[in-house]
Every structure is written in C-alpha cells, then in structure tokens.
C-alpha cells in the first residue's frame, strides 16, 4: 500500500478492506510515522509484546489511522535491551503509551523526552515487567513519588484532587496549578484502576476473553466485545453470520444512545440545571429497561460472543415505539438546552480545544469530531452492517463544551435513524457459528467506532488455541492529554463540566 511518497509492504487483513498488517525493522517506524502524519493520518495505539517464546525478541506495535484504513505495524526488537526510536516527537499522543509500554515490558523509547513512569505506581518492583512471560515478582509497596511539573512564580498555588474524587466517578489524580481562579496548568496522574487486564488475557480461552474484553471499560462493553470478537474471527478465519453482524450494529447504537443520554443529563447537572439531569436519566432508565427486556441485560453484557451473538431480537416493535418516543423527548429537551441562557452561558466558549491543536495532539472520537477532526469508522471505513447504512458523521468546529454536547445530540438522532434502518433491513438467519482455532499462531485486529471513539483490539492466539497476547485500546489514551489543554485559562469551577463533556474512561486507559 502507498503512504506518503513510499510503497509499504502491508497486506489487508483477511475479510476486511479497512485493516492492514505489516512488519518493519523498528528503526523504520519514525519514517512510517512521518509519512502517515504527512498525509493527515494519526497514531491510534502503541503497545508491545514479549515474543521470545516464538523464537523472536520483543516487538513494538503501532496502529495508524490512514486514508486507506487502520494499519497495524509491528517493529521487531532484540531480546536483549529492547529499544525503538521515540515516536512522540512525531505523534505526541505516543508519550503515555510509550511510558506504559516501558512499565509493563521494559521496552524503551530511545530519545524520548518524558521517561516518567505511568502505570507503575510502586505495586511491583522497578526493573521487573509484568507483561514479560517470565515475570515472577511479588507485589511491593514502594513510595509513589510522581514528579509533577511545577508552575512557579508569585501567587501561583496548587490544588491536588484525587485519586478518590468527590462524585461517583473513577479514580485519578489531578494537579491544578492556579492563579486566582484561573487554571495555569493541569497535570494528570492516572493508572489507579490498573487491574493487570492484559496479563489476565494470557492463556485464557477465546470465549472467556470476550467477557474480559467487554470489561476493559464497562460503559463501552459492546464496542470492546465486538472489536475483540472481530479480531478473534479474523485470526481464525471465522465467517460470522450476517444477522449476527446486524445485531452487533444494533447493540452498538443502543450503547451509544444510552451513554449520550447519560452525558447530556450530567452536562445539565454540572451547570446547575438538575431538571436536565432528571429528564435525561429518566429517558436513559427507560432505554436500559427496554434493553433488558429485549436482550436480557441492561448494558448488553456478554451478548456478543466469538462467532456471533448470544441473543436474538424476536420483535422490534417495542424498540421502534420507544425510539420514536425518546427521539421526540430528546428534541424537547434540546429545545430547552438551546433556549436556556444559563446553559448556553456555561457551555459556550468553555473548555476549548481548537481544531489545529486537536489535529496536532491527536484528539479523536466524539471529542475529536467536536473539534473538526472528521473521523468516524462507521462513515469512512464501514464494515458490515454499516456498509449498507450510509452513516452521517456529526462534526463541529467550536471545540468547546457546547460543541461536544451538540455532537452528542446529533449522534443520538442519527443512532435512532440507524436503529430504524437496521430493524427494516436486518436479514433472517443463524446467530452464531463455532470458532475453531487454527492450530498455529494466528493474529487479528478488531476496530469498532464506540460511542467515545475508535476501539481497537489486537489479538494473538497461540498454537494451543488460547490467547497469547491481547491489547485493548480505548480512545481515552489520546484524549486525556487534551483535557489538560482544554482546561487551560478556564476557572476551576468549570473543570467538572469540561471533564464531563469529554467523559473519558479511566479503566480503559489504566488497563
């Protein structure tokens, strides 16, 4: 395939016209990254693997978004002192992923300016790496001194917040440097929900792996479970029945609507319009109960399985009727948000990430689209069933809280339209086929546009038919650093609102 001025020896993944695979000597990765950047692409994910049992050394993997789709490239590294050239100088979003890769595998980014630890807080000893296959260290409890960057000067002081926050949200530490009420700098420290998810995948059977993948970030269960299954199905050459793919699409849109309704409620709540919270959460609760009645689980947990889906839709009429009612009610509420002076005053010009900054730092997904980063896999690289649905992408160029709310509104309406179309076009047929491991080492990648952004899961199955290495990627990796940018110059009391407008996953990036 051609990226930039060069031809690259990458091949399409079996059964996909949007996912590509290739290997390179690690030394050539920066040249590839430059070529991707030159044509307007982005780095999506970066991770490593210990391949020493496969008669190799280590490997550094990258997933790039390009004009031709998602490209998964592996750079081979030696078994001794594995290192690769720093990619953060090309794509700044690589920074935290590189640091996490070092913490977990001891693979070093040579020439990187930021080498602070990221996921290792002190629960395992320095110099030991949990994702190496021979890792055997016992847990420790060392003092976790993280060097935040200090802002100095007269009148500057710091507010430390977390890891346990005041509301019902996930844990993380925010270090604000402020003068008066204005934020001069925000430093994030994440990793508090690090559960060792990637290590848990090792040696797991394929079906259990789907359950674990769906719990990387519970609010994106469908997206992660689908991306994982897509990867497994690609690796094993499994042809999923058509109806199962349509049901997966239906589940994904149900999940998107549920999350957007909740966020729109909280955005009202955070500007003191509790009316908005109560009404959006009333609608969300109706939606969740309907989901439970139709499919047996409020959040569709474990309804997507390798080879298909575990549940059918017998009758779509109640779903259609509820979609009609909810859409009208969301339109009523949108009219109120649009008219309400207090809401508009707080939403507009708050937490701005300008399009140029978004492009430079790789803002993605929903937040990216609100800052004119027009990527939506369902629209540009539609895989079944989206290839028959003509998805309309929602974008905005303001890059503020208002824009992120607006994109959510538009996406709710579009998802309602998609659900109607799916119910009309969905073919009859079987729901699931058996997945049979090939008996040799096999790899695959899955890519799904979740409600927050692109969810990517890379899977390697061992010769024994069990999982050898799984890397689940949440778009929160790229977007957390942009929250630090969006909050600059805003007042501290607007931080919860700005944070909610991004609504990023902690567990999705802490892994």
């Amino acid at each position: 395939m051609r990226i930039g001025e060069q031809d690259w020896d990458f091949t399409p993944q079996a059964g996909s016209n949007a996912i590509w695979r290739g290997t390179l000597p690690a030394a050539r990765l920066p040249a590839l990254a430059q070529a991707v950047k030159a044509e307007g692409g982005q780095l999506v994910a970066l991770w490593g693997s210990d391949d020493r049992k496969l008669d190799a050394g280590f490997a550094l993997h990258c997933a790039f978004m390009t004009g031709a789709g998602l490209v998964w490239v592996s750079g081979t590294l030696p078994a001794e002192a594995p290192a690769y050239p720093d990619l953060a100088h090309v794509f700044p979003q690589a920074d935290r992923m590189q640091r996490a890769t070092f913490d977990l595998l001891g693979i070093r980014a040579e020439g990187a300016t930021d080498t602070r630890k990221w996921l290792r807080h002190g629960a395992w000893p320095e110099g030991t790496y949990p994702l190496r296959k021979d890792f055997a260290a016992s847990p420790t409890r060392e003092l976790d001194a993280y060097p935040f960057i200090r802002v100095e000067g007269e009148g500057v002081h710091e507010i430390p917040v977390g890891p346990i926050h005041a509301g019902t949200i996930e844990p993380g530490h925010f270090r604000f440097s402020i003068i008066g009420d204005r934020v001069l700098r925000l430093g994030e420290r994440l990793g508090y929900t690090h559960q060792g998810v990637e290590k848990r995948f090792e040696g797991m059977d394929l079906a259990t792996g789907a359950r674990l993948a769906g719990r990387v970030s519970g609010d994106s269960h469908v997206a992660f479970a689908w991306a994982y299954c897509m990867a497994v199905e690609a690796a094993t050459g499994c042809m999923v029945p058509e109806r199962a793919l349509w049901l997966r699409g239906l589940f994904l849109e149900i999940e998107r609507i549920a999350n957007h309704l909740g966020d729109l409620g909280y955005l009202g709540n955070d500007v003191a319009l509790s009316f908005g919270f109560m009404h959006f959460w009333r609608l969300k609760e109706d939606w969740l109960r309907l989901t439970a009645r139709l499919f047996g689980h409020r959040y569709l947990f474990d309804r997507i399985v390798p080879g298909g889906v575990a549940v059918d839709l017998a009758d779509g009429s109640e779903l259609l009727a509820t979609a009609d009612r909810l859409e009208q009610e969301v339109r009523d509420l949108k009219a109120i948000y649009d008219e309400h002076a207090g809401v508009q005053d707080r939403f507009a010009n708050t937490g701005i990430v300008k399009p140029a900054m978004a492009a430079r730092l790789g803002l993605t997904g929903l937040a990216g689209r609100a800052s004119a980063q027009a990527w939506d896999a369902r629209a540009q690289f539609p895989q079944p069933p989206y290839d028959q649905l003509d998805v309309n992408m929602a974008t905005h160029s303001r890059g503020d809280v208002l824009a992120r709310a607006e994109v959510r509104f538009v996406e709710v309406f579009e998802s309602m339209r998609l659900i109607r179309a799916m119910l009309e076009l969905m073919p009859a047929g079987p729901l699931q086929v058996a997945v049979a491991p090939t008996g040799s080492v096999a790899e695959g990648m899955g890519w799904v546009e979740g409600w927050r952004g692109e969810i990517v899961v890379a899977v390697r199955i061992g010769a024994d038919g069990r999982l050898d290495r799984v890397h689940p990627h949440d778009p929160s990796w790229q977007n957390w650093p942009l929250l630090e940018v969006g909050v600059l110059g805003n007042i501290v009391p607007d931080f919860p609102l700005i944070n909610k407008s991004f609504n990023l996953s902690y567990s999705g990036q802490d892994l």
């Binding site: 719990r215 959040y299 509420l333």
Partner: protein, 177 residues
Amino acid sequence: MATHLILQKIFKTGIVSEPAPAADTSLRTREQELHAEILKVFGQAITIRHVDAGSCNGCELEIHALGGPHFNIEGIGVKFAASPRHVDLLLVTGPVSRNLETALKRTYDATPEPKWVVAMGDCGCGCGTVGGMFGENYASCGKVANVIPVDVEVPGCPPDPVTLLSGILAAVSGRTA
C-alpha cells in the same frame, strides 16, 4: 422561553418515582457489630461515599442510575456525599487495585464510626465467573473484603439499581436476618 418549556415538560411527565424495594437481609456477610440504639438514631437515613477501587466503571453506571427520578433515593433517606468524613456507609466497587489500596484504606480510616461497608459487583464480592476473572494478581488485591471489612455484598455484573438499593437498605435497616 426556557422556563415555559421546562414547566410544560415537568407537568406533562408527572412523577415517575417508584416505591423503594424491601431490604434484602440475605446479602449480609457478617453479624453487624452495632448497637440497637445507634440504629434507632440513624433509622433508615443514610449518607454514602462511593469509592471506585478499580472497577471497569460498569457498577458506576448503575450507581448513577440510582440518582435518577425512578428511584427517588433522597426521598427514602439515602444521600451521596463528597467526603468520607460525612458518611455512614462506604459503597465500594472493585476489584481493589494495588495502585488504589492505600487510598481505600485511608478512606475507610477517615470514615467515622459507626460505619458500614457495602461491596458492589461480582469483582468487589469475588464471586461468579467475573469475580474469578478479576481475582488477585500482580496489580490487584481481588475482592474488597481482602482490604477492608465488608458488611454487605451485592453481587451482579453490574447489580441493577433495585438490587443495589436492597443491599444498601440491608446494611442499615437494623432488622436481623
């Protein structure tokens, strides 16, 4: 204009709140070391501090849902507060990550006596397939009871708001099993 629309919506919607579920005393895991007099003082009014000790955020979705109008929790005396110093009960989702172990212990210590701990979800309770999947490893201490004393365990992945509320009420209702 907005006020007119808001009032219209409120009147058109009416009250959607449902009656509270009964306390499910079978969820209790240890004999509660509490005096009847303390229970008389607290009655069923209870203030809760939620601590995510390493969950996938699935349980948090249901805690949020509990705040919606269907459940009217403040109407039955249940309230969430921002500081452990202001609460009677810690609602902990897990499994407890080693990176949050210290913070959870400090939160427990900062909560005044008498106090209850409710562990929420299969991971926090260490039960079922999911609890097994998220057991102890290099990064995780496993279930909440491995780190702090737990009074009531509410299993589920995630437990729905009604089940959660039954568990919370079981912790504080004072009725013996």
